[in-house]
């Protein structure tokens, strides 16, 4: 009788802790996904300033600058929701990444531009921005993988239904063009 009672209590405690663990991971995953948005928003806000900073010096590369501004405005406009959202957002953001890297390549071509302080700052800010987005995605993928593994592993999988745990998708690069992103050397001492 006593053994049975102890057993029930132990199982009960385990269910509670497994359930709470899953819920915590679920919320971490959601939060990590939102962090990507935060970083994308930061990039959108940064671009107008950056473009203004180089506009005067780069009058002759108007088309490159305009491509960046256009891609940025396109990315800001995307306001989709639902399953299509991730795809649309990533398409617009990929286009923006492409335009930005073309701008950086252009800057590389003008050593006298690089010599002025503004451009050095611009490069640092841009590479940092791209890094932030990449690291936010990495965190999301790591957290989501942890969440997916946990809910599929025995014995936690027994509680997965109770916690409404469902497999979450990882952030993948769909566009082949971004896979082959041009390597821009931004390393500065």
């Amino acid at each position: 009788m006593w053994v049975l009672l102890v057993l029930v209590v132990i199982v009960g405690l385990w269910v509670v802790s497994a359930y709470n663990g899953l819920i915590s991971l679920k919320n971490q995953t959601v939060n990590a996904f939102k962090q990507i948005d935060v970083q994308l928003k930061r990039r959108h806000d940064l671009i107008p300033n950056l473009v203004n900073a180089v506009k005067g010096a780069m009058d002759f590369e108007r088309s490159t600058l305009e491509a960046v501004i256009q891609a940025r405005n396109q990315a800001v406009k995307v306001n989709a929701s639902g399953p299509e959202a991730v795809k649309q957002i990533s398409q617009a953001e990929n286009a923006l990444s492409g335009a930005l890297s073309r701008l950086l390549v252009t800057v590389e071509r003008y050593p006298e531009l690089k010599a002025t302080g503004n451009i050095g700052q611009l490069q640092e800010e841009l590479s940092s921005t791209e890094n932030r987005i990449a690291f936010a995605r990495q965190l999301y993928n790591d957290t989501a993988t942890q969440y997916n593994t946990k809910q599929q592993q025995f014995p936690t999988t027994l509680v997965a239904g109770l916690a409404h745990a469902e497999r979450t998708d990882l952030w993948e690069i769909e566009d082949q063009a971004e896979r082959a992103v041009p390597q821009v050397d931004l390393s500065r001492r």
Binding site: Q35, E124, S128
Partner: protein
């Protein structure tokens, strides 16, 4: 031992498990020091109130609480570090950005960043928990590291922050301190005859059994060796946490080879970091004082170091880099196999 190979997640897991065992060993030894003696006392027929255990525990809690409360401020103040709030130069902007990026990768709030005016490359982390943490880097580090290496070093420090290593190491240091303090006090009381009952087993009518005598002897020997044993255990935990922080850095940057090359550069810079005192040594990227100790090969030198040997750390990082390259199907070039 953890295997030197394996990807970064396997290495993290192995180091976590080993820390757990070390901490369990530490706590058991500590309990034996405190309550073991009381137990022997009770077996001898004395009143069973656990004086030594309660005294030791109280002293430990007070020291832990005190160091925990005053620790971070003291450490930072002692190094002469200045907080970087408004970055001005390119190097400052870069390090501020790198800290931002790594905080995102680690998924923790951005720590406060401090610059230490010292030419030797080093860095350390401190603070109570991830919500209130500090990272300090020396000027020397900013000058010798490129962006990737700087990122890897900052990621190592954020690994300490995320693993709550400050809390763990402060607690262990406080326990070591408590053992020293109580041992000193007991020695004094014994010499001054403050406790007349101590050693007075013969006063009792019945003779103590051999088991009790052995236990008592063991307990006294434990106390004689206690400072050494607790110190060695704490250092073993510290080295484990270094390996773990290296593996965390590899997770955050996905570039273990950058940390390997940063460590090589840091090792190459000869001068000791005079600004960082020994109190923060276990949270630095490399030992600021005992560099000769961490470099010297040999079993004994290894036991007394806060950090594992540089060569082992570098070879493990390269192992992680190799595992990563193998997964990605890349080729392992000779430049990283050294």
């Amino acid at each position: 031992m953890t295997s030197p190979d394996g990807n970064l997640f396997q290495q993290q897991e192995a180091n976590r498990r080993r820390t757990t065992w070390l901490v369990i060993g530490f706590v058991l030894f500590f309990a034996w020091l405190g309550f073991g003696g009381d137990y022997v006392w009770a077996l001898q027929g004395h009143h069973p109130f656990p004086w030594v255990g309660i005294l030791l525990t109280t002293v430990a809690i007070i020291t832990a609480w005190y160091t925990y409360k005053t620790g971070p401020e003291k450490v930072l103040w002692a190094t002469g570090a200045q907080e970087l709030i408004d970055p001005k130069t390119d190097a400052e902007r870069q390090v501020a950005n790198v800290v931002d990026e790594m905080a995102i990768a680690a998924g923790i709030p951005r720590p406060r960043l401090w610059i230490i005016p010292d030419d030797d490359p080093n860095a350390f982390a401190t603070g109570h928990d991830p919500r209130d943490s500090h990272i300090a880097v020396t000027l020397g580090l900013l000058t010798i590291c490129n962006r990737d290496e700087l990122q890897a070093v900052i990621a190592h420090e954020l690994g300490h922050v995320k693993n709550l290593d400050v809390r763990l190491m402060t607690t262990l240091a406080a326990l070591v301190g408590a053992v020293l303090l109580v041992r000193e006090g007991m020695g004094r009381m014994m010499r001054g005859g403050g406790i007349p009952t101590r050693g007075g087993g013969g006063r009792k009518g019945k003779s103590a059994g051999p088991l009790i005598a052995i236990l008592l002897a063991l307990w006294i020997i434990s106390w004689i060796l206690a400072p050494l044993v607790t110190q060695l255990l704490a250092l073993a935990v510290s080295r484990r946490r270094e390996y773990l922080a290296d593996a965390m850095s590899a997770q955050f940057t996905r570039n273990p080879l950058a940390l390997a090359s940063a460590l090589e550069k840091i090792e190459g810079a000869a001068a000791p970091t005079t600004a960082i005192k020994s109190g923060a040594a276990h949270l630095c990227i490399c030992d600021p004082l005992g560099r000769r100790l961490t470099n010297r090969e040999g079993w004994l030198a290894d036991r007394f170091a806060t950090h594992p040997p540089m060569s082992t750390r570098i070879s493990r990082l390269k192992g992680m880099g190799y595992a990563q390259l193998k997964k990605e199907g890349g080729s392992f070039t000779s430049s990283v196999s050294g």
